[in-house]
């Protein structure tokens, strides 16, 4: 006697309960607070805001907590929430040249106007596990200095003044900036959509692609012209008001790569650009993004497209980790029906195969 498996509804409820229990962990250990996540796991929060496409530290912290620290799950939670938000319009472009810089380095010039500012970075830490941090550690207060009033112009602007680097494309006020969350993507895609796709893209995917370009799969000789991190003002022009209203400041990281030059019989040679921008302090992300942005320029620059990082359809179709994880993980869902169909076909083919091979040699095989 056979009784079909039932009770899925209760199984789901119980699974959710168990998940909540596991998420909380040992109840003797104090619960982690959102402000602890936001303050002490801040780079994780930055990544979730960037790839989740939503600047809200508190919600990103909640997502990380809810996702038990699974970053892609947290990004997914933020995206799903973002998708339901009403859209009032687009802000004015942020002026990263006017950024209140907390960190700013250039690898192309020893010194630049406004100076090199090392800021909070892992770069020259020795990667030795620090037992002091395990508990109760109170770090020294940071060294304070006089805030500089000097402007910190972008290195690429300095190069641009002499025409040494291709001009940054000028925004056309009449052409609205594309938005791949509102309009389905079609190929070839313009740079606005490429940059949006890369800004939302999985950091690991971009890192690997950027790395592959450095190793010769579409090499483009990059220099880190500048990486800067700090606060920028966000302004919004409400149609009724007719002027820009400040919305506040957000933390951003910008990376401008200076790459292999181009030129022709009719055009003086100049460097080319690769651009990366992300919320919070996200240096690896913006550097990788800038490398891939430059690689995706290949078509516009008339370069031969040979490497994965140069292939816009390949990069843009596979960069989104929420899409990728969904489709990879959907293999967990039942596929009994299609598998059964495949099984039936395979059995039939095998049966015919064995009949054919056991048959007298004169008979033709199944062709």
């Amino acid at each position: 006697m056979y009784v079909a498996v039932k009770g899925g509804e209760r199984a789901i409820e119980n699974a959710h309960r168990l998940l909540a229990h596991e998420r909380r962990g040992d109840r003797d250990v104090p619960e982690v607070s959102l402000s602890q996540i936001s303050e002490q796991l801040s780079l994780g929060v930055d990544r979730v805001m960037t790839e989740g496409s939503l600047y809200d530290r508190e919600l990103a912290a909640l997502a990380i907590k809810q996702a038990r620290g699974d970053m892609i799950e947290a990004i997914f939670l933020v995206r799903a929430f973002r998708a339901t938000l009403p859209r009032f319009g687009a802000t004015e472009p942020v002026d990263t040249g006017a950024m209140r810089v907390r960190r700013r380095i250039s690898s192309t010039f020893k010194d630049v106007p406004g100076g090199q500012i090392l800021g909070p970075t892992f770069d020259y830490t020795h990667r030795l596990l620090d037992p002091q941090l395990a508990e109760g550690f109170s770090p020294e207060a940071p060294a304070l200095g006089e805030a500089s009033t000097a402007a910190t112009p972008r290195v690429t602007d300095i190069l641009g003044r002499d025409g040494l680097i291709e001009p940054s494309p000028v925004a056309d006020a009449g052409t609205p900036v594309g938005d791949l969350t509102r309009e389905p993507l079609s190929f070839p895609a313009d740079r606005d959509l490429r940059l949006q796709n890369l800004a939302r893209a999985d950091e690991g995917f971009l890192l690997a692609l950027g790395y592959s370009s450095q190793r010769g799969y579409g090499r483009n000789h990059p220099f880190a012209g500048e990486i800067r991190f700090g606060e920028v003002e966000v302004e919004f022009v409400a149609e009724d008001a007719g002027f820009a209203v400040p919305l506040g400041a957000i933390a951003m990281t910008e990376c401008q790569m200076v790459n292999q030059f181009k030129g022709s019989a009719t055009e003086a040679p100049c460097f080319t650009r690769g651009y990366g921008l992300a919320f919070g302090q996200s240096e690896r992300k913006t550097m990788s993004m800038a490398l891939v942005d430059r690689s995706l320029h290949a078509r516009d620059l008339g370069e031969e497209v040979t490497a994965p990082a140069q292939d816009e359809e390949f990069v843009m179709s596979h960069s989104d980790n929420v899409q990728a994880t969904g489709f990879v993980e959907h293999l967990k869902l039942p596929h009994y029906v299609d598998f059964q169909s495949e099984l039936g076909l395979l059995r039939k083919l095998r049966k015919e195969f064995s009949e054919a091979t056991e048959a007298p040699p004169m008979q033709e095989a199944a062709e």
Partner: protein
């Protein structure tokens, strides 16, 4: 904190308008995949987000919704989606095929014939039937534009050369209204003939791939084949062990590790309705049913 609040059937009105416009175009151009700006849904891509968005855009308070996965109302993903709409739209749900006005499905078409008042919404993972032959969207779009489907016929023919049969058992490509080659979603090819001249409207949603397509009612749908290798349905040649049906698609259940198997209807509503009507198979037990609502 911005405490989240959600609209009827979850989607905001702007998103619904965008999807509704895509649905109208899809109906007007049968089998053509209309690009749409698929939203992030509160369930993973690949788990029915396209079907859910289509359902959310059409669903009204008077609808009666049925959700099936692998033909069954009781698989976890079907339950999860049914609960989602019960919660966000407050619609009545059912497991009875004939009572439903909207049926969202993954991988099956119900056994019971559909009627004109019904809409069948398919969840689609890869909407492009040519994708496995040509990975580039730019190329496949051109092929559809020109109606140039030679590549597909070559693939099917290569199967015949190698195996003696067309080696596609599910997601078997069809031609709609004598123009577009279309992926029916990963339904077993057993279900393909049900799409032809079907009185119900069939809508297909692919969330991750951002495409919506449709087959209007009473539209010609032909499974691709060759004159000397005509399309054939496949079902395991046995009656259902529970209801005795000999015309339904069967799931294979492995009952021990010694090679014992039994075959039962994949469409649970069909099977249970038959058992309630007194039909019995070799392994019948009284059906034990978990109803979603009432």
């Amino acid at each position: 904190m911005n405490a989240p609040t959600y609209n009827f059937a979850y989607l905001d009105e702007q998103t619904k308008r965008m999807i509704r416009r895509a649905i109208l175009k899809a109906i007007a151009i049968p089998g053509y995949q209309v690009p749409f700006a698929s939203r992030e849904m509160p369930m993973p891509y690949g788990w029915g987000t396209g079907g859910v968005q289509v359902t959310a855009a059409i669903l009204g308070p008077e609808d009666v919704l049925k959700v099936i996965d692998q033909g069954s109302d009781d698989t976890t993903n079907a339950i999860s989606i049914r609960k989602f709409f019960g919660k966000t739209a407050g619609v009545a749900t059912t497991t009875a095929t004939s009572d439903a006005t909207v049926i969202q499905t993954r991988h099956r078409i119900p056994e019971a014939a559909l009627h004109g008042g019904q809409i069948l919404v398919y969840q689609v993972p890869i909407p492009e039937p040519l994708r496995f032959l040509e990975p580039r969207e730019t190329e496949t779009r051109r092929m559809h534009a020109l109606g140039e489907y030679g590549l597909m016929h070559v693939k099917l023919y290569e199967d015949i050369a190698r195996f003696g049969h067309i080696a596609t058992a599910y997601a078997y490509p069809v031609k709609v209204n004598a123009r577009y080659v279309m992926d029916p979603s990963p339904t077993p090819k057993f279900d393909n003939p049900k799409m032809d001249n079907c009185p119900a409207l069939q809508l297909f949603g692919a969330g991750r791939e951002k495409r919506i397509y449709a087959i209007p009612p009473h539209t010609n749908v032909v499974s691709l084949d060759f004159e000397d290798h005509p399309f054939t349905r496949y079902r395991f040649d046995a009656p259902c062990a529970l209801c005795g049906a000999d015309d339904s698609y069967l799931d294979e259940i492995v009952t021990d590790d010694k090679g014992s198997r039994m075959f039962v209807c994949s469409d649970t509503d069909y099977c249970e309705s038959r058992q309630l009507a007194g039909h019995r198979g070799s392994e019948s037990a009284a059906p034990h049913k978990e109803r979603a609502h009432g």
